[in-house]
C-alpha cells in the first residue's frame, strides 16, 4: 500500500463491488510490463526556437539555454516526445486498450498526478529523440478526493542516437469523478478571481481542498465528528472519562476492538469492558502527505497501535516527527482535546531509556 494514495488511512480499496472490481483490476493489472510506446520518434529535432519559446513561457532566463553552446532545459524532456495536435506516434495498442478498458468500466476522467524525470545527458539543438515506454504498474483501486480510480504509471526511456539521455516516469489517475455537486458554475471567470479562495470554493473544487482554503478566513475547519451509536456509545463514554475501554466477551473472554455488537470468536452477544492500561507499540503506520483534509496538517503519521492488552487501534502518533515514527516504537495513551467538543485518544511516543 502506498502511503501517498491513502487519504487519512481510510477507505483505500473499496471491495464492496466485489466481483466487478476484481475483474477490472485483474484485467488492468495484466497490462503491467507491456509496452506503452515502441520506437517513438520525436516530431522535431531538439531546436533553438522551441527552447526559446519554452523559456519565454516559463520566464526562465538561464544563460545555459541560449548561445552557441546552449542546452535544452532538462525539464523539457517530455515536451520532445509529445504528439502535439497531430497525435501520438508510437503509442502501443496495449496502452490504448488499457485506457479503453478503464473508460468502459466508467473510469473516464484522467488527471496527471506525478512526473519523475532523470536527466542523464544534456540535450542540444540537432539531437534526434527516440523513446520507448512501458506500463510499469496499475494500482489497486484507490479513493481520492477527485474520485475513485486507478493510478497507471508508465516509464519512458528517451534516447539520442541509441544512447540513453533520460527517463520519464509519469503517473495518471483514471477515475470516476466524486459525486459532482453542480454548484452553479459561477458563469464566466469563476476561476479568474480564484485568488480569493472563496471563488475557487464556489466552483467544483473537491470540498476538502476548498475547506483547507477556508482556514484563512473565519473559522478553522473542525475534525470529523465520530459517529456514536448504540454499539459504540460505551467506548465514547469511556473516552469522556479518559478511559480507553476494550470490550471483553462474556462467553469466551476474548478482547475485541473496535467495538462490535457480538464476539467474532464465538458469536456471543454479551460483554463487559476492560480498561486499557495505556501502553502500546506502533504495529504499523502510514504517513499522510496528500491530499490535505480540513483540520489536518500534513504530513502526519497515522498509526496502527497494538495495545499491551493485544488489540489494535488506529490513532495518531504524537510527540514525534512524522518521519521518525517506526514500527515497534513504544507509545503511551493520552487524550487530546481537539476542539471544544471533541476529545480523542492519541498515542505519544515514549523515549527509550537506554535499552
Amino acid at each position: 500500500m502506498s502511503e501517498r494514495e491513502v487519504p487519512g488511512g481510510e477507505g483505500a480499496t473499496a471491495l464492496d463491488e466485489g466481483g466487478e472490481y476484481e475483474d477490472v483490476f485483474a484485467r488492468a493489472k495484466a497490462y503491467e510490463g507491456q509496452a506503452a510506446a515502441v520506437g517513438g520518434l520525436g516530431k522535431d529535432l531538439v531546436n533553438e526556437p522551441m527552447i526559446r519559446h519554452w523559456c519565454e513561457a516559463m520566464g526562465d532566463t538561464n544563460p545555459a539555454y541560449v548561445g552557441a553552446d546552449a542546452i535544452a532545459p532538462p525539464t523539457m524532456l517530455q515536451a520532445w516526445t509529445m504528439g502535439g495536435l497531430s497525435g501520438h506516434a508510437g503509442r502501443s495498442e496495449a496502452y490504448d486498450e488499457l485506457l479503453g478498458l478503464l473508460d468502459d468500466a466508467g473510469y473516464t476522467s484522467v488527471v496527471a498526478t506525478d512526473c519523475e524525470q532523470e536527466y542523464l545527458r544534456p540535450l542540444r539543438p540537432g539531437d534526434a529523440i527516440t523513446f520507448d515506454a512501458v506500463i510499469e504498474s496499475v494500482s489497486e483501486r484507490k479513493t481520492t478526493k477527485l474520485g475513485t480510480g486507478y493510478f497507471v504509471t508508465t516509464r519512458m526511456d528517451v534516447r539520442v542516437a541509441g544512447r540513453p539521455v533520460g527517463t520519464h516516469r509519469f503517473r495518471i489517475l483514471k477515475y470516476v469523478p466524486a459525486g459532482r455537486r453542480r454548484s452553479a458554475p459561477k458563469a464566466e471567470g469563476a476561476g479568474a478571481v480564484a485568488r480569493t479562495a472563496g471563488a475557487a470554493r464556489a466552483a467544483e473544487i473537491p470540498r476538502e481542498i476548498a475547506g483547507t482554503a477556508g482556514t484563512a478566513g473565519t473559522s478553522r475547519p473542525k475534525r470529523p465528528r465520530p459517529v456514536v451509536n448504540r454499539d459504540n456509545a460505551g467506548f465514547w463514554e469511556g473516552v469522556s472519562r479518559h478511559r480507553l475501554l476494550i470490550q471483553r466477551c462474556d462467553g469466551c473472554r476474548t478482547l475485541r476492538f473496535p467495538w462490535l455488537p457480538g464476539c467474532n470468536a464465538c458469536g456471543c452477544p454479551d460483554w463487559d469492558t476492560v480498561e486499557a492500561g495505556g501502553e502500546g507499540t506502533v504495529y504499523s503506520y502510514v504517513v499522510m502527505h496528500h491530499p490535505p483534509f480540513p483540520a489536518f496538517d500534513p504530513p502526519y503519521a497515522v498509526g496502527l497501535i497494538e495495545l499491551a492488552e493485544g488489540v489494535r487501534m488506529i490513532s495518531n502518533v504524537v510527540g514525534v516527527q512524522h518521519d521518525r515514527v517506526r514500527i515497534g516504537m513504544p507509545v503511551r495513551l493520552e487524550f487530546e482535546q481537539v476542539d471544544e467538543e471533541l476529545e480523542l485518544p492519541v498515542f505519544r511516543a515514549v523515549e527509550r531509556s537506554g535499552g
Binding site: 519565454e56 516559463m58 545555459a64 525539464t75 488527471v111 506525478d114 536527466y119 458554475p185 476561476g191
Partner: protein, 172 residues
Amino acid sequence: MNTEVGPVRVGDVLPPLEIEITRTLIVAGAIASRDYQDVHHDAELARQKGSPDIFMNILTTNGLVGRYITDRFGPRSVLRRVAIRLGAPNYPGDTMVLTGTVEAVDGDTATVRVVGANGIGRHVTGTVTVTVPGAAGAVGADGARVAQGAEGAEGIEGAEDAAVHEAAGSRP
C-alpha cells in the same frame, strides 16, 4: 558522510519565487510543452469537464520547478532529477509561491525539497536533485548573480539574499 559542499548545507532554505498564474502563462506553458489538451486552453470545455476554469498542465509546473532551482543555484548548476506530485490545481488569477529546503548534500550534489503553494492548497510537492559544480565559493557567487539578474522579472527575488543557513546540527 560529508554533508557539505561549499555553502550548500542541509537545512538551507531557498528564497521563495512567486509566480502569478495568469491565463497567458497557462496557455503559453501548455503550447510551449506541446500539450493541446483542451482543459489547458479552453475554459468552456474545461467547465464541461467539471473544472471551474482552465488549469496549468504538469509540464509547465515541471518547468517552473526546474527554473526555480537553477535560478537559485546559478547557471552552472545541472538538474539531475526532478520528481513532482500535483495537488491543488493552478487556476488563472491565483498565485503560486515556490519554496525549497535542502534536504541532503552528497559531494557537489544537493537534494532539494520543493513546495509550490497556491490559494487553495499545495499545487506541487517534490524533490529536485541538482549538481552544483565548483563546490565551495562558486555556488554562492553564481546564486547571487542569478538572483540579481532575475530581479526585474520577479519582485520578490530582489529582496532576498543568498540562502538562509540553518544549523544542520540543530535537528534531532
